[in-house]
């Protein structure tokens, strides 16, 4: 079990539990304040957009081309933008800090 610290769109902080090998999207879609993840994790819709805290960014593999192309055209794109369906959690992500991007 690891703990993820999430700042939602209203500015509320949540500490949520996750398992290693979960994808971050699958953790976040369980909450009403979470992500909608309409395509279910196929990297097709960009509705699971999060900002990963700068200190944690390099603990995930870099964006693949398809994720990059979806993200770069979002209104709220930032250098630390990620699609949470592409982020697989491991023990080393215990304490991860992310912020949910505004809905497009």
């Amino acid at each position: 079990m690891i703990t993820i610290n999430v700042l939602d769109r209203e500015g509320h902080e949540h500490a949520v539990e996750a398992h290693a090998n979960d994808r971050l999207m699958e953790v976040l879609r369980e909450f009403d304040w979470g992500v909608s993840a309409i395509c279910g994790g196929m990297c097709s819709c960009a509705t699971c957009h999060v900002f990963v805290d700068e200190n944690w960014l390099d603990r995930f593999p870099q964006r693949e081309m398809d994720e990059e192309e979806l993200l770069e055209f979002l209104d709220h794109f930032q250098p630390n933008s990620r699609l949470s369906c592409q982020l697989e959690l491991q023990q080393k992500h215990d304490g991860l800090v992310v912020k949910l991007a505004p809905e497009e």
Binding site: I38, M42, C45
Partner: protein, 404 residues
């Protein structure tokens, strides 16, 4: 008595309505009636990850089962509605119970079109709609099994791709002259058709099925001209139609689906419809549409919930769809219109391409293969009804970001 909303159907639209009602502050009872005896789940991975045995079926659930109780949503799994009495304001379920409602939301989705011909009831004939269907079919997709796919639409081609990746021999039989003809543009369809051929799928185009051969097991699919396609199993993907079964005789106006306005209201007060079962005049499209897609189910589900809560709500989202076959991600937004100009744009970085369709400077649709950026831009241009020149769209040196 407490206020009560009954939702018929616990698929993508029904679950969305239930959750949106709670998120919108609704305090009355929410009854969510699901035909299948499962925790509600999403269907798109069934024909992809589940069929390929990459995902366990549980991974498709929208939410954990506890989530329904936490939201005070009464989930009734394994039950379906048999009739709606719009005058009395109650529905009857097949477990013998009756439920009065203040508002009713019909999210019954679609029913499969089934084959009705010699051999169509043999045990090796599969359809793909539910998780049980997917698991049963997946079990049969073993190396060297000979699979005949009847219908070269999305489901048929996704199944063909999954089956090839599992080592099956695959033949696709399509009655028309193009795969995915109902919604894919010709260039896109041609590309995917060729991709399947490269993967070793054989095609029987422009051919109708006469019957299935075999006594206790399927041995072959017989085409109308007498040709036999030897097969161990058959997967039928010949479309769906809105599931209107439970509203027969209710007085709710239907055409192909349940006719709804931009707030998902049917012709009868306090009865709404959302998702694959609804037929709506979309503000961005021409005419009335039944849109069989996840995005539409989610968008209409939200709109229906808002309308019930008395909030201003109307559906204006650009319809979008996607498919995955081998290493090809197909993403589509909008609906092409007859007579549209079609413009192709290459993506040098991914090797993919897109086709845009437009008329008089207005984009109606974009369909992309491995080119998410074109799709994302197209979706926004359609939504904003922006003017755009075909020359810019086909100029792959031009950065489409400039258009936004």
């Amino acid at each position: 008595m407490k206020n009560r909303i009954v939702i018929l159907g616990a698929g993508q639209a029904g679950v969305q309505v239930a959750l949106s009602l709670r998120q919108g502050g609704y305090k009355g009872e929410v009854i969510l009636v699901g035909k299948e005896p499962h925790v509600p789940y999403q269907r798109p991975p069934l024909s992809k990850q589940v069929l390929k045995k990459e995902w366990a079926a549980e991974r498709c659930q929208f939410r954990h089962i506890e989530s329904y109780a936490e939201h005070d949503i009464d989930l009734l799994p394994g039950v379906s509605a048999v009739s709606v009495d719009a005058v009395a304001g109650k529905v009857s379920l097949d477990d013998g119970s009756d439920w009065g409602y203040d508002s009713l939301v019909i999210c019954t989705g679609s029913r499969l079109n089934r084959l009705s011909m010699a051999g169509s009831l043999l045990p090796d004939v599969y359809y793909l709609k539910t998780v049980d269907d997917a698991l049963a079919l997946s079990h049969r997709l073993v190396p060297d099994a000979r699979l005949a796919v009847i219908g070269g639409g999305y489901i048929g081609l996704e199944v063909a791709a999954a089956a090839r990746s599992l080592g099956c021999e695959v033949a696709v039989i399509e009655a028309l002259d193009q795969v995915m003809k109902r919604s894919a543009l010709p260039e896109i369809a041609r590309y995917l058709h060729q991709r399947h051929q490269q993967e070793g799928v054989t095609f029987h185009m422009n051919r109708k099925v006469a019957g299935l051969q075999g006594t206790s097991r399927v041995t072959a699919v017989e085409l109308e001209d007498g040709e036999l396609v030897p097969s161990d199993l058959v997967m039928v993907g010949v479309g769906v139609r809105p599931d209107l079964h439970c509203i027969e005789g209710s007085g709710i106006a239907t055409n192909r689906g349940i006719l709804v306005d931009g707030s998902c209201r049917s012709s009868v007060a306090n009865i709404f419809a959302a998702g694959d079962v609804a037929e709506m005049e979309h503000p961005l499209l021409e005419g009335w549409h039944v849109l069989e897609s996840v995005q539409n189910a989610v968008s209409q589900g939200k709109v229906a919930a808002a309308a019930i809560l008395g909030q201003e709500a109307s559906y204006t989202d650009v319809p979008w769809f996607w498919s995955e076959q081998y290493d090809c991600r197909l993403q589509m937004a909008g609906i092409p219109r007859a007579g549209d100009q079609q413009v192709r744009r290459e993506n040098d970085e991914t090797g993919g391409f897109s086709v845009f369709t437009l008329a008089e400077g207005h984009l109606h649709a974009v369909q992309s293969i491995n080119s998410p950026r074109d799709y994302m831009v197209g979706r926004q241009l359609i939504s904003h009804r922006s003017e755009v020149s075909p020359h810019i769209l086909s100029d792959h040196a031009y950065n489409l970001k400039e258009l936004l």
